[in-house]
């Protein structure tokens, strides 16, 4: 199981046939295992890691530190779910430390993000304060280094 997940985590497009060869199971068994993993949400989704800049699109990311007042009975979950439903919210984490929620926003411009924070996020009743940090450059995303792949420096034939 773990072996299959490791392969798919690196490349979601590997076919069940190829996985079967690599892990020494039958194609049927691999398909079965994958659908099991999908059912229990161990595999959440198949996506593509996009470098929007290379695709010619303007994309801006911001990390926003949010302090909130937890609610009786719901703790942070209720306010979190109000926030993560906005499509602009790329990721959302509950933090231990100086602030409570870390909100990652994806937008087309700094203006758009500033607008989102001012109009949508800050006015929420439970939100006490926000601090917005804009991303200048993405080096590594979800375990993938975006640039600077190391060249193969080996001699072509060695004993």
């Amino acid at each position: 199981m773990k072996e299959i997940l490791k392969i798919l985590e690196q490349d979601a497009k590997v076919s069940p046939e190829k996985i079967a060869t690599m892990v020494g199971l039958s194609v049927e068994e691999v398909k079965e295992k994958i659908s099991e993993l999908e059912k229990k949400k161990a595999i959440i989704k198949y996506r593509t890691v996009v470098d929007w800049e290379k695709a010619g699109e303007e994309v801006v990311y911001a990390f926003i530190e949010v302090k909130v007042t937890p609610e009786r009975d719901h703790g942070f979950d209720a306010v979190a779910s109000r926030i993560y439903r906005f499509p602009e919210v790329h990721s959302l984490y509950l933090m231990a430390g100086d602030y409570d929620l870390s909100v990652v926003i994806e937008g087309k411009s700094m203006k758009e993000i500033a607008y989102f924070v001012a109009e949508k996020l800050a006015p929420l009743e439970q939100v006490q304060s926000t601090a917005t940090h804009f991303v200048l450059k993405r080096y590594k995303v979800d375990g993938v280094i975006l640039e600077g792949k190391e060249e193969d420096r080996r001699l072509p034939i060695t004993p």
Partner: protein
């Protein structure tokens, strides 16, 4: 000069059989090379970073001849915890410039002129030359596909004479990927005992074994005192360029090897030694990840080769597949050269690894998956043209 300039022994060793391919490859573009004998991963970052840090700290000096005690301790610990081997870091471990140096030292420490060294083939290319340089005489024992390229004690015993001093084992094997099981090793141990032989065991691919069968030779009862165990960091930790390895044996042998090492090399690079400490204490998770990746590719390449009609032994260790090319009616050198010129795929002809390697080629799978697949597609076209 009117006297022959070069020594007779050196003259007697033929030049490397793979040199020729080098020049061809350098003149071509778009070659996929399955000819490499080293990992495609760069050294894991934590190890590299340790090397950088030790330079910054001014570790730019000699170390003791035997190598940093901390590294010897780390190796001793690792061998004990992983395989139950007992080697005293004070007296039984020597840090060397790769297994290459360790092999040379081992042979020179124990060979008298004319002593015979039994070498199972196909084998790594250094064994015969190093034996000759040490004054010994290589005695080759062929291994066969039908035995899974394992060497048998009976084949060894057939060539034992009263000049035989050493059996040189190398499992997991380069180029076949064969491993030995415990029973086979027990039988060889019997032969070693019966004829009072030393076993030099080059186990540089030991950690890259893909089933649970790996048995280090010195773990066989009573064999520690007749074994010189060689291992290194090049393959498992992707550290070929650091040039670092080690030898383990009884104090008497390690002292003799250290004597040569001290006067010819002085010590292994301190930067590599520092990095090796990091590798063996903190690099093992990353090592397992690389090994798992090799394992996936292993299945892919073995299957792929079989599908294009080249019968292929399933390698159990190292990172080489060793398919038979007999049904193309080409010699291994012809195959390799034509494959390179016609389809731009580089492989190593089996004959480089000994006469019984003829009829095979070595394909490394220390190569990215996509490239392996592209190489297989090209080889498929090639084999279709030649298969009778």
């Amino acid at each position: 000069m009117s006297k022959p300039l070069i020594s007779k022994i050196v003259e007697s060793v033929p030049p490397s059989g793979i040199r020729r391919f080098f020049d061809i490859i350098l003149s071509m573009e778009g070659v996929i090379s399955l000819g490499v004998g080293e990992p495609d991963f760069a050294t894991p970052w934590t190890i590299r970073e340790t090397g950088i840090y030790s330079l910054e700290q001014g570790y730019t000096t000699y170390t003791s001849n035997q190598g940093l005690l901390k590294l010897r301790e780390a190796i001793s610990n690792h061998l004990y915890h992983t395989y139950g081997l007992n080697y005293d870091p004070m007296e039984e471990i020597l840090i060397t410039v790769g297994v290459s140096e360790a092999l040379d030292l081992a042979l020179r420490a124990i060979i008298n002129p004319g002593d015979e060294v039994i070498i199972p083939e196909p084998s790594y290319v250094s064994y015969k030359p190093c034996t000759l340089f040490s004054g010994g005489i290589p005695v080759v024992v062929p291994t066969y596909l039908k035995d899974g390229f394992k060497v048998t004690s009976s084949e060894i015993e057939k060539v034992v004479t009263d000049r035989t001093k050493v059996i040189l084992l190398s499992y997991p094997n380069n180029p076949t990927g064969a491993t030995m099981d415990r029973e086979g090793l027990l039988e060889i141990a019997e032969v070693a005992k019966r004829h009072d032989l030393v076993v030099i065991s080059d186990e540089i691919y030991g950690q890259l074994t893909y089933d649970d069968t790996y048995t280090p030779f010195p773990s066989i009862p009573n064999m520690k005192e007749r074994t010189i165990f060689l291992d290194g960091f090049s393959k498992a930790y992707a550290m070929t360029g650091w040039r670092i390895g080690f030898a383990c044996s009884i104090p008497e042998v390690i002292r003799a090897m250290t004597k040569i090492h001290q006067y010819t090399t002085l010590c292994a690079s301190i930067i590599a030694q520092k990095a090796a400490i990091e590798a063996i204490t903190k690099g093992n998770d990353r090592m397992y990840e690389m090994k798992n990746e090799y394992n996936r590719r292993r299945q892919l390449i073995v299957n792929g080769l079989r599908e294009i009609g080249l019968p292929c032994f399933e390698p159990k260790g190292a990172f080489y597949a060793f398919p038979s090319i007999e049904n193309t009616r080409l010699s291994s050198s012809e195959f390799a050269e034509r494959l390179l010129l016609e389809e731009k795929v580089a492989v190593v002809p089996g004959e480089v690894f000994g006469r019984c390697g003829e009829g095979y080629i070595r394909c490394s799978y220390a190569v990215e998956q996509q490239l392996i697949e592209e190489a297989l597609t090209r080889m498929d076209r090639f084999v279709k043209r030649y298969r009778k």
